[in-house]
Symmetry: C2
């Protein structure tokens, strides 16, 4: 198909598609003449992935890193998660106090060595933001986080497709980044549902 | 204390504090002379809250809405969550298909009426981003999300402090927004731990 049809079917404007081509997150189409290129279903799928990442708040540099992992996946599946995470996680300053973060990860049944430094740093960063705001997560709630997020991760891992490496990569990389808005939205709704059960519906 | 000491103790530059004063998210200090004002511990705590929200990606308009809820909380605690959510949630386009989102909320044990329209819209928006990316959450994983996020929300609600309304408001409003980075960071670490158990440590 031509770029105009690609734009129509994907809902992404032609100018934006050209930007993705320049940024090399979307592969070139097949040249059919010096001024025209032809695009296929793979381009449409890739555009869907890019738009979903952008919607999830991932910047163009992060999109480029995700695309690189999709195109050239690491061999050990454990490294996949690290690559997916590195692709979409912000960089954290060095020299943070990692003790509390390490203690939490140990309680989730992992050695801190099982995790990438960025993942430990992300936990430490979140903890220090809470501390700066004077907000303490009650111990019973922290217990619930560790228990239920571990169970959730086990369920996600158990469902990794074994049809092909490409399917597994796609599932892990996209599942890490794209599912986050769903998890946060469901948590807020679940809180509202729990509050309604306790205090009555909103506006009562 | 003077603004210079407030800056030093909070780690927020004087120019940024002045910006927060102009934006009215930080209350004026007590005038000690026409050119000088004096700030107290309440200003320090408020600055901590503002910084944590900004770190969590909340814009100045969202910070202003959170501050408004903290200063003038609604009477029904169920409305609190809605207000907290509205303060930090992005606006969603109208006219989205809400059927699948409503079905998920019903499965979490709530009527869709128990939730604010923004919360239902956030779930629908996350689902449509996944669909656009061609990513399907396997049914067993969706079951795990609903079950474990409900349990997590129940634990959070059960720990709401009953010492004062102000404490409860602070807990609910800040807990909704500020804990999100912690939950996402713990989930990623939990995935890595589960993957290491399954496939060996990274780099093996």
């Amino acid at each position: 198909m031509r770029i105009s049809e690609l734009a129509e079917r994907s809902g992404v404007p032609v100018a934006t598609i050209k930007y993705y081509l320049r940024e090399k997150v979307l592969p070139e189409g097949e040249r059919s003449s010096p001024t025209q290129a032809s695009y296929g279903e793979a381009h449409l799928r890739r555009l869907g992935v890019i738009r979903a990442l952008v919607d999830a708040g991932v910047g163009i540099a992060g999109v480029r890193r995700v695309v690189a992992v999709l195109e050239d996946p690491p061999e050990n599946p454990s490294d996949l998660l690290g690559a997916a995470n590195a692709a979409v996680a912000p960089a954290f300053p060095e020299g943070m106090d990692l003790r509390e973060a390490n203690a939490l990860l140990t309680r989730m049944g992992g050695s801190p060595q099982a995790c990438f430094p960025d993942q430990v740093a992300a936990v430490a960063h979140a903890l220090s933001a809470l501390e700066r705001a004077g907000f303490t997560v009650p111990p019973s709630v922290m217990d619930a986080y560790l228990e239920h997020l571990s169970a959730l991760a086990e369920a996600e891992l158990a469902a990794t497709p074994d049809t092909s490496l490409e399917d597994a990569v796609r599932y892990v990389v996209l599942g890490t980044a794209l599912v986050e808005p769903l998890i946060l939205a469901l948590r807020r709704a679940a809180e509202q549902i729990a509050a309604s059960r306790r205090f009555g519906a909103p506006g009562d």
